[in-house]
């Protein structure tokens, strides 16, 4: 499942906003089929990192490649292979689930969109609500529809930015199970979260982000061990600050 050439590659990526440095030299190589989780405090740079990969944030310097494509020079080609799920759903509240997906299918110029839409709704368990307006959806349902939106075009890489925030336990477990299924199909997942309780399952690689850099990585062991390592990591950092 894992091939030799990285499916996502960052080299010396830096990004600053005026006085604040968001990314201070990130080097990363993610292979196909990996499930990588970025852990870090608020403001550590994990969101910016994901958005640089998706090329909605332009780095001040460095190289970003997705599936071998230089995203900085060919942003549209890169975006075709990416799906992005964030805290906000990106959905139009006054449109139905189907209408939302139909719109995004048109944006991603999909062939036979009707079939893909039906398939996607079935996959996230929302066929029953296909013709309901999104404003009537619970948070969990919105998140599920957001995932359907993000995977409609069958991307190679799925980027998730704090997807578990605001979800109740049941919805979170559903999301976690779904993610595992997604990875099992050979896709790559990069997820940023600061929630230790949920969603660490299924990952095999954890990167601790601090002040715009990947400070530490864990590639062996279970998610429980990764959790412990991260708690230790935070404690050490807190000591430095004090």
């Amino acid at each position: 499942m894992a091939s030799s050439s990285p499916v996502v590659r960052l080299e010396n990526v830096e990004k600053w906003f005026g006085r604040t440095s968001a990314l201070a030299g990130v080097n990363l190589a993610v292979r196909s089929g990996e499930f990588l989780i970025f852990l870090g405090r608020n403001g550590s740079g994990k969101s910016t990192l994901l958005r640089v990969v998706a090329r909605i944030v332009k780095p001040n310097c460095g190289t970003v490649e997705v599936c071998g494509i230089d995203v900085l020079r060919h942003p549209e080609a890169g975006r075709e292979r990416l799906g992005f799920v964030a805290h906000s759903s990106f959905l139009y509240r006054n449109l139905t689930a189907t209408e939302n997906l139909r719109f995004f299918a048109a944006l991603y110029h999909l062939e036979s969109p009707a079939d893909r839409i039906r398939e996607a709704l079935r996959w996230v368990g929302l066929e029953g609500s296909a013709h309901r307006q999104v404003q009537g959806f619970s948070r969990g349902m919105q998140q599920r529809l957001s995932i359907a939106r993000a995977t409609l075009h069958d991307p190679e890489v799925l980027l998730l930015d704090e997807p578990f925030s605001g979800l109740d336990l049941e919805a979170a477990e559903l999301l976690g199970a779904w993610l595992e299924g997604f990875v099992a199909r050979g896709k790559t997942v990069l997820m940023a979260t600061h929630d230790l309780e949920q969603g660490l399952k299924g990952a095999r690689r954890w990167a601790f982000v601090e002040r715009g850099r990947i400070a530490e990585e864990v590639t062996t062991g279970s998610d429980v061990e990764a959790r412990e390592r991260y708690k230790r990591f935070l404690k050490e950092r807190r000591r430095d600050v004090l």
């Binding site: 906003f17 005026g18 604040t20 440095s21 601090e210």
Partner: protein
């Protein structure tokens, strides 16, 4: 830089002499008319400034070189000052001579709109949080505003033909005494030099500020490691 300062100072002194001592007194308007040289020179300079803003805004969007944004911003600020001078000197001249504070003739109207464009640019500058975005948005507005300014002027001129307006200084190229014309051009030259001098000053100020920001950033990073 000090060479530019010296030349500018000399030119301004020379123009003061020309305007107040060399230029003949206008027959109907009297001494007040001498404002005209500063008024028109400011107006032409403010139009030159928006053109400079245009050039550097386009170049910034093409290359993302922050220094080009600095140049555009500085030109806009200095241009705004000259633009304000036009709007202040206009009424100062009009009131004693014609008894009215303002008239909507083509040139004053387009000077007013240009002033509004400068104000829009500077307000936009203040209200955007992120510095990168600020530079980009202002560059976009700078391009739109600079292309618009001459079109505004043309439309107000043609508007005038339908609705006759009182015209200050008798319209374009209305027989200006050759001595007066010389003084006008030389004063304009002095003002252009003044523009470049102030522009350079402002650019240097902005660059210093960015250097400070860069140092702060580096200090932040050193703290982290």
């Amino acid at each position: 830089m000090s060479a530019l300062a010296t030349i500018t100072f000399t030119a301004m002194l020379a123009s003061l002499y020309l305007v107040f001592l060399y230029a003949p007194t206008e027959t109907t308007m009297g001494e007040v008319q001498r404002i005209f040289y500063f008024h028109v020179s400011s107006a032409w300079t403010s139009f030159l400034a928006i053109f400079v803003v245009f050039i550097y805004s386009v170049r910034f969007l093409a290359t993302r070189n922050r220094d080009l944004d600095t140049k555009a911003l500085s030109a806009a600020e200095v241009g705004a000052v000259f633009s304000t001078m036009v709007l202040v000197s206009g009424p100062l001249w009009a009131k004693p001579v014609w008894g009215i504070w303002w008239t909507w003739d083509a040139r004053l109207t387009s000077a007013f709109v240009l002033w509004l464009i400068y104000l829009g640019y500077l307000t936009l500058r203040r209200l955007v949080e992120s510095p990168e975005q600020r530079a980009r948005l202002c560059a976009v507005f700078g391009v739109l505003g600079a292309v618009d300014a001459p079109i505004v002027y043309m439309s107000t001129r043609w508007f005038r033909t339908q609705h006759p307006q009182p015209v200050i200084a008798g319209g374009e190229g209305s027989g200006l005494d050759p001595q007066m014309r010389l003084v006008l051009y030389l004063t304009f030259l002095a003002f252009v030099l003044l523009f470049f001098y102030l522009w350079r000053l402002r650019c240097d100020l902005e660059r210093t500020q960015e250097a400070v920001e860069s140092l702060e950033r580096q200090a932040q990073l050193r703290e982290a490691s």
